[in-house]
């Protein structure tokens, strides 16, 4: 090995503490980058393969009922590649062990051959036999939630008639990567399931022979989707078409697309922070090394080493540290990617969701960290190499100190000697001090960001279920019912309150902007289901006019006072212009609300309701739900609050894991920054500190001068970290906002406290390690060696 490389290795092993600390910061940044990106890649490619193999449709629409000939006409629309007509019906399920009724969605399968589009993937068992009644293929989520197996059966109310359904197999579908009931925030696999049934059986139960009520289309490459949708809507309007949508509005597709978008942000924001901090640490460490080796550089030049060789030699330190960090990042990133992919695979059900790390991400990650490493040391190395050899031979001129600002202001009378030294040191190199503080601040910020998700969900649950939706259960009827149905609900033993609602599918339009949604009509008494504004104040419904979700108003580009066009997509399908009363804050969806009577008037119908919000006494809830299960008019009962709690329980472990990652990462940064700064200061000021020891300062007093500086910077860094964390959370909340979700911007005090305490502890631990260095200062040797 060449002598110069030997020198590199020995010097590195001398500064191994620093090298490892910096490599760890790089490793963490790279780990998040690789973990998130490879997960993104794995999910994207799993989704693309799945969509492709299962022929996932491009356009989806529901309708009331149309003869099969209409499907053939849809296939003739220019740009359409294939159509698949189906019968899709909602049913109530009576699941043993579940008091409340569950909701099932029955989807027809062709009696012969496979569907043209949206092929279910058979995971176990077999497809149902069209010649045998009551056989279904069940979607995996529901099956696992209840521990069903092929051969098990349960009862369902099909079109008012109780029937036993037998599970013949377990399936997956590209349409239901996650099974979320329309209008829900989270999946509730216990109370909502998808089932496939032979068309003959399903059609005869719902008297839909020779007809269909659901149509999906695939498009030819380059087809104009908007135009196809327009023509399709026109074709289906006489048949009760509910308005077609592309994939972008498809619930499951949108859900996972949003998730992937969030992963993308995750693959960019934290790694940038980590690698930025690493570049700074590298630059500080290498500058110190260069200044310590000033005379060695001069000697190398005197021997005839060229500037390039010397620069490469010193760049070698950075390269070695970055290489170590990169290996660490590769290993940790692959581990993170694997566990994140597994976590997503538990939520999004793919037939093929393996972890498939892509080579390109690793190459890109390595290139990125090497670029950062070179950027961190380039300036220092260039500067050191440029010093003329004769000048480098002389010791560095003593640093210039000036009275600090505090002293210039005359406040120093209150300062003891040690704080004065600390202040002068800080004001001598304000940029380094500031960057150190920023580095520590970022670790604090990462901790704040790490807990933001939890705070946001806590707040969301508190507002949505504490202030907004206070009902115990929501009952939905199959069709609109006369108002007296409400009385039946009120008379159930255990129901203390029932408030009606009417839900109507509509398309809301403002000029070129439009969205398909449902208008919810609410009764005059609204104690269970309330609407609130941005400041959590209850909003009243306008006498005439519609309330919009802030999100929907944004999409439609309308403000309160403007008018929107509402096109009803059922019944007589009237279209009306309605003024926008006010905006409501909700966290999900794109809802619209009206006064119940107003909505019925708009529909040109008498007083009718689609369902009701119920308050139920806890001990009688079981009885109420059992009654509802048997009521043929009831399409479903949803217990959102229970569902969310169950959902959060399932994900608590994952949240905890992510939080642990965050804490570990933040500690690595805090430790890396504090430890490095302390090491560098110790090396720069060893002589000065040893002198203090010689003239009689105690170890504690000497440490106080060195560590006091870092303590001061840490204390400055914490509020700065709060501010950065606050800004980052704000950015993340905005960046992650989608049509489906609005992430509430909310940070608890405990989050800030946790971040501050963690940073302080990390700083103290690294301070203590460096303090051992101060305690071990060799007083005589330090004073003897010349500067």
């Amino acid at each position: 090995m060449r002598a110069l490389n030997r020198k590199l290795l020995r010097d590195l092993s001398h500064m191994k503490g620093q090298a490892v600390a910096i490599a760890a910061v790089i490793g963490c940044g790279l780990a998040v980058f690789i973990g998130a990106r490879t997960t993104l890649y794995s999910l994207k490619s799993a989704r693309a393969t799945y969509y492709d193999r299962s022929r996932f449709a491009d356009v989806f629409t529901g309708l009331n009922r149309a003869p099969e000939a209409i499907a053939r006409r849809a296939a003739e629309i220019p740009g359409v590649a294939a159509v698949d007509s189906r019968v899709v019906e909602g049913v109530t399920l009576d699941i043993p062990g579940l008091d409340e009724p569950a909701v099932g969605k029955l989807v027809s399968l062709p009696d012969r051959g496979e569907p043209n589009l949206n092929l279910p993937y058979l995971k176990s068992g077999r497809f149902p036999d069209p010649n045998r009644g009551g056989e279904v293929l069940a979607e995996e989520a529901f099956v696992s939630a209840h521990g069903f197996r092929p051969g098990d059966s349960f009862e369902a109310v099909l079109n008012g008639r109780l029937q036993t359904l037998t599970i013949t197999g377990v399936g997956l579908s590209p349409e239901y990567l996650t099974t979320i009931q329309p209008g829900s925030l989270f999946p509730d696999d216990k109370r909502f399931g998808i089932f496939w049934m032979p068309r003959r059986q399903l059609a005869s139960a719902f008297t839909m022979e020779g007809a269909f009520n659901d149509l999906t289309l695939s498009l030819m490459p380059g087809a104009n989707e908007a135009e196809v949708i327009r023509r399709l809507d026109r074709l289906l309007a006489p048949h009760g078409g509910l308005g077609a949508n592309g994939r972008d509005q498809h619930l499951s597709h949108r859900f996972i697309s949003d998730e992937l978008a969030q992963l993308r942000i995750m693959s960019l924001v934290p790694p940038s922070i980590f690698l930025g901090v690493a570049a700074f640490l590298l630059s500080v460490a290498i500058r110190r090394l260069l200044s310590l080796q000033r005379e060695q550089i001069a000697a190398l030049k005197a021997f005839g080493y060229a500037n390039r060789e010397i620069a490469l030699h010193y760049a070698g330190y950075a390269i070695a540290i970055v290489a170590l960090g990169t290996l660490l990042g590769f290993a940790l990133g692959a581990f993170m990617g694997k566990s994140m992919t597994a976590m997503y695979a538990a939520f999004y059900r793919f037939p093929n969701a393996g972890y498939r790390p892509d080579f390109a991400t690793f190459v890109l990650g390595a290139a990125l960290s090497f670029a950062i490493g070179i950027a961190g040391v380039a300036a220092g190395v260039r500067q050191a190499v440029r010093i003329p050899p004769a000048e480098a031979m002389r010791p560095e001129p003593p640093p210039v100190y000036r009275p600090s600002l505090v002293e210039r202001l005359g406040w120093h009378r209150w300062l003891a000697q040690a704080p004065r030294m600390i202040l002068r040191e800080l004001s001598r190199r304000p940029l380094k001090a500031a960057l150190t503080a920023v580095g520590i601040a970022f670790s604090c910020a990462i901790l704040v960001v790490g807990n933001f998700g939890k705070d946001a969900i806590d707040y969301l649950v508190a507002v949505q279920f504490g202030i907004q939706e206070r009902q115990d259960a929501t009952v939905t009827f199959h069709d609109a019912r006369p108002v007296r149905a409400l009385e039946d609900l009120r008379h159930l033993r255990g129901v203390t309150r029932a408030e009606p609602f009417r839900a109507v599918p509509v398309r809301v339009r403002n000029g070129q902007y439009s969205r398909q949604t449902a208008v919810r009509g609410l009764g005059p008494e609204r104690d269970l289901y309330r609407l609130i504004d941005t400041r959590e104040r209850v909003v009243d419904l306008p006498g005439a006019g519609v309330l919009l979700s802030a999100q929907l108003a944004k999409i439609l580009h309308v403000d309160p006072g403007d008018t929107v066009e509402i096109e009803v997509l059922e019944g007589e399908r009237p279209t009306r212009r309605v003024p926008v009363g006010a905006l409501v804050e909700d966290f999900s969806g794109i809802a619209a609300y009206m006064d119940l009577a107003e909505l019925n008037a708009l529909m040109r119908e008498g007083p009718s309701i689609s369902g009701a919000y119920l308050a139920v006494t806890a001990d009688k809830a079981g009885g109420v739900f059992r009654e509802l299960k048997r009521a043929p008019a009831v399409a479903g009962v949803s217990l959102q609050k229970v569902a969310i709690e169950a959902f959060l329980d399932t994900f608590a472990e994952n949240l905890l894991q992510m939080r642990l990652f965050n804490v570990a990462f933040a500690c690595v940064i805090a430790f890396g920054v504090v430890y490095n700064s302390a090491r560098v200061s110790l090396s720069e000021r060893g002589r000065e500190l040893a002198t203090l020891r010689v003239i009689g300062f105690t170890r504690a007093e000497t440490s106080a001068i060195l560590l006091g500086e870092l303590g001061f910077l840490t204390l400055v860094a914490i509020p700065l970290g709060f501010a950065i964390g606050y800004g980052l959370c704000r950015f993340i909340a905005l960046a992650m906002e989608t049509e489906m979700y609005r992430i509430p911007f909310r940070l608890d005090d405990s989050t800030f406290a946790f971040a501050a305490v963690t940073v302080i502890v990390a700083a103290i631990v690294s301070g203590l390690i460096v303090r051992r260095g101060i305690d071990r200062l060799d007083l005589v040797a330090v004073l003897k060696s010349r500067e």
């Binding site: 002598a3 030997r6 000697a299 030049k301 005197a302 005839g304 080493y305 004769a390």
Partner: protein, 240 residues
């Protein structure tokens, strides 16, 4: 040297001046220096600290460039060397010995020498070079395990291992006591004698002048006198 034909000139300076600008102050380190160094000669540059002798040595060694005047190395005008040419010149022709040794602390004696032999065109074996300065038994010691005199001898071994044309020594005994200083000078003397390397030694110690072929006295950036020693003392006979 007296009985051989006229030796060729290795270095010649004509009116070399050097001005350092330190903040608002200008320091005239050299004010018109004219000297010649001859092939195979051991020359001592004598002067008090601050007299400009180190500056002169740095310029001869290609570590610094003059503000004005001409420097010739074997008829080549060094003042017109580019940085790359200066590097090549140092690499191939010059051996340096510094007052504070400038060893690389993380490398052993042998590796410190190898640092130079690895980039020289016709080097000695590092072990041979160390043997030449009497350190054959301490090849694998780190600088921190060697005495000051031993460290300086490693530095000399490092300087001669490339078989330089000139050996430039800046206060080589400045940091050493008498006995160790004498051993270091003996090493320099034997290199000059046995390898015929042109050697320039800077010192403020007039006693050392006795071992030189010629003594150049430098004072206040100018040449005060040039004397030829009629009788040279060997390094071991120097009277301190």
């Amino acid at each position: 040297m007296s009985d051989s034909p006229a030796p060729s000139i290795v270095f010649e300076t004509r009116g070399v001046t050097k001005v350092y600008h330190m903040g608002e102050v200008s320091v005239h380190a050299l004010r018109g220096v004219d000297i010649q160094l001859l092939e195979g000669e051991l020359i001592v540059l004598l002067g008090r600290s601050g007299s400009g002798k180190s500056t002169l040595l740095n310029i001869l060694g290609g570590l610094d460039v003059p503000t004005d005047g001409e420097v010739f190395y074997r008829d080549r005008a060094m003042s017109r060397f580019s940085e790359a040419e200066l590097t090549r010149y140092r690499r191939n022709h010059v051996g340096f010995v510094f007052q504070f040794y400038n060893l690389i602390p993380s490398l052993t004696a042998r590796e410190n020498v190898a640092l130079v032999t690895e980039i020289a065109p016709n080097p000695m074996n590092p072990a041979d070079a160390l043997e030449l300065v009497g350190l054959g038994g301490r090849l694998d010691h780190f600088p921190s395990q060697l005495s000051g005199g031993e460290q300086q001898r490693v530095a000399i071994a490092r300087a001669i291992a490339k078989r330089p044309d000139v050996l430039l020594c800046d206060e080589p005994t400045g940091a050493l006591d008498l006995n160790t200083g004498a051993r270091v000078l003996e090493a320099l003397e034997s290199v000059n004698r046995e390898l015929g390397t042109t050697t320039a030694v800077i010192t403020h110690n007039a006693v050392i002048a006795d071992m030189a072929h010629r003594v150049i006295r430098v004072s206040d950036g100018q040449i005060e006198s040039v004397e030829t020693n009629t009788t040279r003392r060997s390094a071991s006979d120097l009277i301190w």
